[in-house]
């Protein structure tokens, strides 16, 4: 039973976000709860970053496929829940480091909309709340000039 739960959890964590290949949905703080019963029924509760996120159906399908492939799993239900609310604080240290390193995307500082420039560490200025996706704003780093996308709260 514990082995199965462990295998299911790592299957969920093996799913990458469709917009950030190489970064797990677990590192982005999307996974709320994973329940596994003795009969191999699995329920996965996920937290959407934004309700209008166009990737939700893909993420649901990817998680369903990954969990369904675990031996001993009979049924999988993947749900998007409205509690808890997603906040950037849910992103793990590894997730932050990968976003900065691989995608030049910063996570906002506590209580602020600005983040630290992944290039030089300077504090970013917001230019537009509307970036290329609902969950990212466009900023610029005043110190080094880099256009930086910052995750929105």
């Amino acid at each position: 039973m514990n082995d199965l739960a462990e295998a299911v959890r790592s299957a969920v964590a093996s799913v990458d976000d469709p917009e950030y290949p190489g970064i797990s949905i677990a590192d982005l703080g999307l996974v709320s709860e994973v329940r596994v019963d003795g009969g191999g029924s699995v329920e996965v509760d996920l937290v959407p970053t934004f309700v209008g996120c166009p990737a939700l159906e893909l993420i649901r399908a990817d998680v369903g496929r990954a969990v369904g492939a675990v031996s001993g799993v009979h049924t999988v239900e993947v749900r998007f829940v409205d509690r808890p609310l997603w906040t950037p604080e849910r992103i793990t240290g590894a997730g932050r480091a990968a976003l900065a390193r691989e995608f030049t995307v910063a996570v906002p500082l506590p209580g602020l909309s600005s983040g630290r420039c992944p290039r030089c560490g300077g504090s970013t200025d917001e230019l537009s709340a509307f970036g290329p996706s609902p969950c990212r704003a466009i900023h610029r780093c005043p110190s080094c000039g880099e256009p930086v996308e910052v995750v929105r709260r």
């Binding site: 290949p21 209008g52 166009p54 030049t104 290329p132 996706s133 609902p134 466009i138 000039g145 996308e149």
Partner: protein, 313 residues
Amino acid sequence: MRRWSDLSEFEAFLDGGGMVEPGDAMPDEYRLPVFRFIELHANSELMGALTERDWIPMAPGVRRKQILMAKTQDELGHAHLLYMVAADMGIKSRDQMLEDLFAGRSRFHNVFHYQAVTYADQVAIAYLVDAGALINQQAVFKNCSYGPYKRILRRIVAEEGFHMRHGEEMVLRFAQGSPIQRAMFQEALDRWWWPTVHMFGPPSKPDDLLLRWHIKSDTNEVLRDRFVQKFVPLVQGYGFTVPDPDVRYDAEQGRWEIGEIDWEPLQATFENLGPDSSRRIETALAAWNQSAWVRDGLDQVAALHAASGDQAA
């Protein structure tokens, strides 16, 4: 600020995998073609977003509308970022680039010079054109020597890959649809196949500066071939016909060959004389003018905040 004493020293720097950053004293022989390439990319994202936007009210069902809204926002965001990077090269300001685009003095990708007639065209674009764009962008990302552009391409490539999955899903729906739906997609394919083949550009010249400066990593022919080898069998596999009477599989070489390419339509788009060029440019200008009040309002709010020293906004 880094400087290079001459072009050959600069070229050796690039050949060694060096990355150029905005503060560097890059030679004008580099600055100008790289700027033009990024400006073309920015213009194309903006023109693409406006077309996509037109289809939001007509897309079938909430989910398709949601995807189109997301793609529209995505492309506008990319345009915004790319105009920043282009403007930072110090050749034209963002306003100048937009003015030139709306006056028909600039270029944008050939595929945005045609009209999308039905929703199936929108799907053909999501399937073929987005795939073509992804092939081009992956190749630029791989070898890109201009730092800020490479970093933005990293995100664009990830997002285009995600769009592709949606395009594939929709093509599958058409392929499994009624005879009328299948015919609808075939007609769209007939309209969009050749513009997509053109999208990789005319045959590269041996002295293509963008290859020399490590912006492009492959010739236009290599990229086009990558598309042909992948998409001819995919399109046929879904039971649709590639609108090229000469397309054939060369069993000996193990590869697909397409018929001769007529370059005339591509040339026309270079001069903004494609079938839908003027309507597209007029629509873009109208959208820009209609949204002037939003920009004015934002400027006034920003000025008020600046005057009161309020940084929180």
